[in-house]
């Protein structure tokens, strides 16, 4: 573990050193490729400018995830409860994935305007599918013997869902969500590129147009950090939810 950490840190240092040195030795203009030191200082010094935009983008992503969950979870449960529903809807779901969602971005501006609604929708649209699929696969992955057990115990569908299927599918669900949240960030940013009044995507476009490349890089740095934060946030939620792996104070009798 120590060795791996050492190598990772060394690689990072080497990479940034080479970048920094190249910028200085070849005197690359700052509006083409700023050195890492400038990017870092811009990211910190321009924080008062960047932060409100980051909050907007963050809000869009969180709302997008919320919207996707609000639709995807009931849909996955419904498709699991009624196989005919799954049969009827799965072609639509697959087709919805065949549409390049990013290509919808200009239309969403037409329909939903320059506000955050279109960006939320965009993020939700991207993350929705992996959640439905991972949940459904999780439900279906439940072993036959457990189903027979619950059947003989006289449990109804909803009771079985609560006690068996849902906890069973949680690890799958979180795997889907992890992939989803990182892509949702891309969705929100592209939504902002196409037309927005606020947000990190908007800020990037503005900075790019004014050749403030250091600010563009600083925004990318912020976006990466937000992505990491989301990733670890989901990981933290996963740990809390799949409590039987690390916590034993849980009871159905309570």
């Amino acid at each position: 573990m120590f060795r791996a950490n050492l190598l990772a840190v060394s690689l990072l240092i080497v990479l940034f050193s080479v970048w920094e040195a190249a910028c200085r030795v070849f005197e690359i203009p700052i509006f083409i490729l700023p050195p890492p030191s400038i990017i870092a200082s811009t990211a910190v010094l321009q924080a008062p400018l960047i932060l409100p935009h980051a909050l907007t983008t963050g809000l869009e992503i969180i709302c997008g995830i919320g919207l996707a969950l609000a639709v995807a979870v009931p849909l996955a449960i419904g498709m699991f409860a009624w196989p005919w529903l799954e049969k009827a809807l799965s072609p639509f779901l697959v087709a919805s994935q065949a549409i390049p969602v990013f290509a919808l971005a200009p239309l969403l501006v037409v329909w939903l305007g320059y506000g955050i609604a279109g960006k939320i929708f965009m993020a939700a649209l991207i993350i929705f599918f992996p959640i439905v699929v991972s949940l459904l696969e999780g439900f279906k992955g439940c072993d036959r013997e457990f189903r027979v057990l619950f059947r003989l115990m006289g449990a109804g569908f909803w009771q079985t869902m609560r006690l068996l299927y849902w906890p069973w599918a949680l690890p799958h669900f979180f795997a889907g969500l992890r992939v989803g949240v990182t892509v949702a960030t891309i969705g929100a940013v592209i939504g902002e590129w196409v037309g927005a009044q606020r947000g990190l995507g908007f800020l990037m476009i503005q900075a790019n147009a004014r050749l403030k490349v250091d600010l563009v890089f600083a925004v990318i740095l912020w976006l990466s950090l937000m992505g990491l934060l989301l990733w670890y946030g989901v990981g933290w939620l996963e740990k809390k939810s799949i409590h039987w792996k690390n916590n034993r104070n849980y009871s159905i009798t309570q």
């Binding site: 013997e145 457990f146 027979v148 057990l149 619950f150 059947r151 003989l152 115990m153 006289g154 449990a155 009771q159 006690l163 068996l164 906890p167 799949i242 409590h243 039987w244 034993r248 849980y250 009871s251 159905i252 009798t253």
Partner: protein, 249 residues
Amino acid sequence: MMFSVSGLSKEFDQQSIFSELNLTVARNRFAVLIGPSGCGKSTLFDVLTGVTSADTGQIRWQDTDVAHLGDLAAYMHQKDLLLPWFSLLDNSLLPAKTGGEDMEKAKPRAIELFSRLGLAGYEQHLPHQVSGGMRQRCALVRTLMFNRELVLLDEPLSALDAITRKSLQSLLLLLQSEFDRTLLMITHDVDEALLLADDLYLLSAKPMRVVEKIELHGEKPRRFDSPELLAIKAMIMQKLEGDIEHVPC
């Protein structure tokens, strides 16, 4: 008589799985259905538990006709089937929970069974924190918490390692001797059937039917040193193998 099956038939894809199947299981007996692999035992199990329904035939429980035994039988499996997200106690309380029982009354009953089966003090442990043998005993507590006289076992124990298998076999016998349960086991493992069964039903390949009913005597768990038992085993093996030759593969 605990329950009986008469004239049970089931077709699947126009192939007869079993037809005119008759079976009677008496109270507090250990009945074992044994037949070659793929003879339709699982389908019979599905019909008995109500997962699918038979085309024709009757299932009688004591003196009444029933559609299936799903609400009347408890279920044991070679796997312990404990849910990893519930404590041992909560796992054993699942039948009470789904059956809508008063949990305040069910809980002391479960705790008593825990101490009776040597699990006292492990109520709040999670399944992965205890040994395989303890998990099996917890599964037994859950089976008893069903409050049902009949216990169905749909998989042979032969997939288990020798020690776990032995301990599970003795737990099953305990179920019969101490807790007065009636057991119906479906298996293809001859040795296991001979060790555990009181009534042994020999099944044929598709279409499945009862070829012979053998009553076994002697104290259980039995040992394989009696010539009588070995003779029965040889006879069963011969019949099962004779059957397998006719099965197109």
